[in-house]
């Protein structure tokens, strides 16, 4: 157990480390260095006890929320800048030829990225990180009702985009 956070064990954090890194990556435009920094900051917050886990939610939900808030407050400008660089890099990469499956997966991911921020967040938390809508809403700091609305809108938008992608593939 951590000295300043008696409800958190190091092994429990180690178990969700991989998933948390994936979440950190998506918070900062898939930049490894920034994601590592973000993870390190989150662990500092937990170790120092600046954020306290009170066992009211699942540890995964709590830690994802810590990373989300840190990314929002401390890396807002940096991540926007990096997302711009990333967008530019993707545009440049488009000129190179890739295999068909990779291209199709890239198109699906671009469909996710094109969603409004909150819809994208809830999509990632529910579909990729296997969270309930309630836990995802908790991480995002919104009410369950708002979370459900974002989830429903995201699902409808994605279904439409994915169907469109499939139609394009068959043409």
């Amino acid at each position: 157990m951590l000295d300043n956070n008696p409800h958190i064990s190091k092994t429990a954090l180690e178990d969700i480390h991989g998933e948390l890194f994936g979440w950190s990556l998506s918070r900062c435009g898939f930049d490894n260095a920034v994601a590592e920094n973000l993870m390190q900051q989150a662990y500092v917050e937990l170790l120092s006890g600046r954020v306290k886990f009170d066992n009211q939610s699942a540890l995964k939900t709590f830690v994802f929320g810590v990373v989300h808030n840190l990314a929002r407050s401390r890396f807002r400008q940096q991540s926007t800048h990096l997302r711009l660089i990333d967008t530019f890099a993707v545009e440049q990469d488009d000129s190179s030829e890739g295999d068909h499956e990779h291209e199709s997966l890239k198109a699906v991911w671009e469909a996710v990225e094109s969603l409004p921020q909150r819809q994208r967040d809830i999509t990632e938390l529910v579909f990729i990180r296997d969270m309930t809508i309630e836990a995802a809403a908790h991480v995002m700091g919104v009410s369950l009702g708002t979370g459900r609305v974002h989830y429903d809108r995201a699902k409808k938008a994605l279904a439409k985009k994915l169907e469109q992608l499939h139609r394009e593939e068959f043409l």
């Binding site: 480390h17 890194f21 990556l25 993870m39 994915l162």
Partner: protein, 86 residues
Amino acid sequence: MDDRQICEEIKKAAEATQTLSRIPSFDEIWVIAEAEVARTTKPRRHYIGWVAAAAVMGLAVALWPSQKMELSDDYMIADALLNLTS
């Protein structure tokens, strides 16, 4: 297109995007975080030392007049007592 299909497609796409990134080991990041916490808590201990030193100095200064009283002559003590009783 149902929820399960959407979920599967997005999961595959996310994995493909994220496998391009190297996941640093837990210990790699944890060690740095521990060092950072140790570094930031150090000045606080230093600060406590200064507070303790200042408290000792303050006590010495506060006690100094009473020592002077002990050294003063009988007239000064009598005068002080008269002032208190009047």
